[in-house]
Symmetry: C2
Subunit: 121 residues, 2 copies
């Protein structure tokens, strides 16, 4: 799967809106998780693998490739880090964290206090 072209989006998005192309890219498994992890600072392939838990190296590699082609992350000598565009995306994702906590409470009202240690950067 290659990078979605905003003008003529892949994966059937069709509407022509770059938003759909973005949804297409970030809707891929682990994509947002990787961006999130990298927002804590630059990381190596291995540390991303561990941080994401059970991601397989092959899929991690292809997601990193996707994100690199989308210019949201870039390689450094010590691993990967967010580009400016990636940082901008992360800032949008930030309030998402709080939303997800409320959402989690809605879905599983029991044990709501365990994730308080979640915080970006």
């Amino acid at each position: 799967m290659s990078i979605p072209k905003p003008g003529m989006p892949v994966r059937g998005s069709q509407s022509g809106a770059p938003l759909m192309a973005a949804f297409d890219l970030l809707g891929r498994r682990w994509a947002m998780g990787i961006v999130w992890q990298l927002s804590y600072g630059s990381a190596t392939f291995r540390s991303l693998q561990n941080a994401c838990g059970s991601i397989s190296p092959s899929i991690l590699n292809s997601r990193l490739k996707d994100l690199r082609e989308a210019q949201l992350i870039e390689r450094t000598t010590e691993g990967y880090r967010l580009t400016e565009m990636g940082e901008a995306l992360h800032r949008l994702l930030l309030p998402f964290g709080e939303w997800s906590i409320k959402w989690a409470q809605l879905i599983t009202p029991e044990e709501t206090s365990r994730w308080s240690q979640l915080g970006p950067k």
Copy 2:
């Protein structure tokens, strides 16, 4: 694929953060697009199908089921609409539209002026 349980997330997210569970749910194909479409107002199955373009009814149905179980959307007599939580999510997604336009310009610098008609609600 069922609704991710924030406490014990599915699909290998593992970190325990509800954020990852949210990424898991919204990272599914078309999920965010459906939320976006519904933000324009309540819609029927058929109109969603047309709005999303090439989505197949089977996958649309399962995404609607996912989102309904996640309590982000709900059925009405005339179709589907966002719940309060879904509306809250949409408000987070809003600035995403602008970001995606900048991003699109970064990726495909040619023909940048065509998507100006994109606007939520």
